[in-house]
Amino acid sequence: MSNVDQNPVKLLELEGVSISQSGREVLHDVTFDIYKGKFIGLIGTNGSGKTTLLRAILGIISPSSGHIRFLNSSKQGRSRNIGYVPQKIDFDPDMPLRARDLVALGLDGNRLGISKRKKSDKLLIDSLVEQVGAADFANSRVGELSGGEQQRIMIAHALISKPELILLDEPLANLDLRSQVEIVTLVSKLAREGNITVLISTHDMNPLLPVMDRILYIANGKVASGEVSEVVTTESLSSLYGHHVEVVNLKGRILVVPEIEEGGFNFLRGIPGNEDH
């Protein structure tokens, strides 16, 4: 469902970005652009560097070389208003925090002191709670919510500050298939309504296929970007992994099949990016 945009506006560019963590290079010479209003899937196996890339865009970590730049803006990295849904947070069931309080923290969690919230802020919180379909459990403790409910709250938390860009790190992990579809549909709907750019990481691209404009495929510290039809091909992914990978389209679901070596499947080598980075 790629939009035919005649004049896409560039929001962010990464140029030659390499990132090392504890002496190991997690990302190597990564270059790509992100355009406004696009829904981008960041696909890669566990440990392939997805979180590292998202944290670098947020400005929490700095590249060891190359640069990450937001266009037409003096605000970079952590001074920017970027919505963020980190990997699953383990909420303590005893944590005295209602779901709506977590949404509210997205609005003013970085402010010092305590003050009574304005009426307009309360209405904004209510409206976000409503938009993500969380009205029924807004007054429950966050720690008592199901995984899918927590993700809805986190999405409201990320969107309430009206960011241009929202980053979601594996929001579909640990969710059943139905909740996965619901979350993807919700993010895509809200993003299109608000013209918000979405970068969402997942190890399984299939739930994103109906809504994804572009794909960033990450493997072996390198990234390939483009339309799904350009990137997710046997040739392109094989070159990214450095060995043969077969892309199969099975009834609309795209499967990336590990190579078959002599002597049968070699799962450790065969499953791309599974070297436990």
């Binding site: 944290r55 947020l58 929490i60 952590r78 001074s79 970027i82 963020y84 980190p86 990997q87 947070i89 909420f91 303590d92 005893d94 944590m95 005295p96 925090l97 209602r98 309080d101 977590l102 923290l105 003013d108 969690g109 970085n110 402010r111 010092l112 002191g113 305590i114 029924d136 459990f137 007054n139 429950s140 403790r141 966050v142 938390h157």
Partner: protein
């Protein structure tokens, strides 16, 4: 007759100077503990709080040696120890139980030495018991200003950092992404924690410090879904329990063995324990019977 007796005891209670000092100190310490303690639990730093109290005992006992109020010794060493803990990394601390255990025993060993020197150097009776297990009724009136000042600073730190503190307690990543200087917030909170532990140490003693720090807050967390209310409830529980402890300690002067008051710390800790068990049981029962029902408001 019995009634007349208790009226007499209560009147005597409030006219006693040590009691009035204890009530004021107890009030402040309980309110600080409700405030800082709630965050201590949320941030998973109860263990750090306990470590600080153990280490602080060395400072408290050293203060007796040089004849200054114990509170100064506790504050001094707790602030230093708190910053060292942050430097080592509170998160890693729990995992390194061997190293932590050795540091804590070293501090307690130092406490043992100082307490020994205290007993041979001074005529003060029972320094050991009052340092380790507290003696709120022996706090000197001259210590009240420092207690109030230290308490006010600890509460002010938490109030100023309130929202970033909540956010970073939920997830460091969330806080970092919002541009919050997470490390500075963590250090700020640790200073508040160090001050708080110094205060609890002089009321219920270094060893029982954690009970007052996290006990009322642990009860409060079970009773409310809101952080602000948890702080208020924890403070209220702390104040009531501390005052009951002071009263019973005063009253126990007439209990057997006669003319020897029971320690207030015992009552404080015992009531907190009983209250926690009761509340926990009730909350569990309620959850069991209200499965699946969602609160409408609150």
């Amino acid at each position: 007759m019995a009634q007349l007796g208790s009226v007499f005891v209560i009147a005597g209670f409030f006219s006693s100077y040590p009691v009035r000092v204890a009530l004021v100190a107890g009030l402040m310490v309980a309110v600080v503990s409700g405030t800082v303690g709630t965050f201590t639990i949320i941030r998973g730093q109860s263990f750090a709080g306990h470590s600080l109290a153990d280490i602080g005992a060395a400072g408290g006992s050293a203060a007796y040696l040089v004849n200054i109020p114990a509170i100064y010794g506790f504050i001094g060493i707790n602030l230093v120890a708190g910053l060292v803990l942050e430097f080592i990394g509170i998160g890693r601390l729990r995992g390194r139980d061997l190293a932590t255990g050795i540091v804590l025993s070293a501090a307690l060993g130092l406490t043992a030495l100082f307490l020994y020197l205290d007993t041979i150097a001074s005529t003060t009776t029972n320094v050991t018991a009052s340092l380790l297990f507290g003696s709120i009724l022996t706090i000197q009136g001259s210590s009240i200003p420092i207690i109030l000042a230290v308490g006010a600073i600890a509460i002010a730190i938490v109030m100023v950092l309130y929202r970033p503190l909540v956010l970073s307690s939920i997830s460091k990543e969330l806080a970092l992404a919002k541009g919050i200087p997470e490390t500075k917030i963590a250090i700020g909170f640790l200073v508040a924690l160090a001050l708080n532990v110094s205060l609890t140490a002089i009321t219920v003693g270094a060893i029982l410090s954690t009970a007052l720090l996290v006990g009322p807050a642990a009860i409060a967390l079970k009773l409310t879904r809101r952080t602000g209310r948890a702080i208020l409830i924890a403070s209220a529980i702390g104040v009531i329990v501390t005052w009951i402890g002071i009263y019973l300690s005063y009253d126990s002067y007439y209990w057997p063995p006669h003319n020897h008051g029971w320690p207030a710390s015992f009552f404080v800790v015992a009531i907190i324990f009983a209250l926690f068990v009761t509340v926990d049981t009730i909350v569990r029962m309620r959850r069991k019977y209200l499965v699946g029902k969602r609160p409408a408001k609150g």
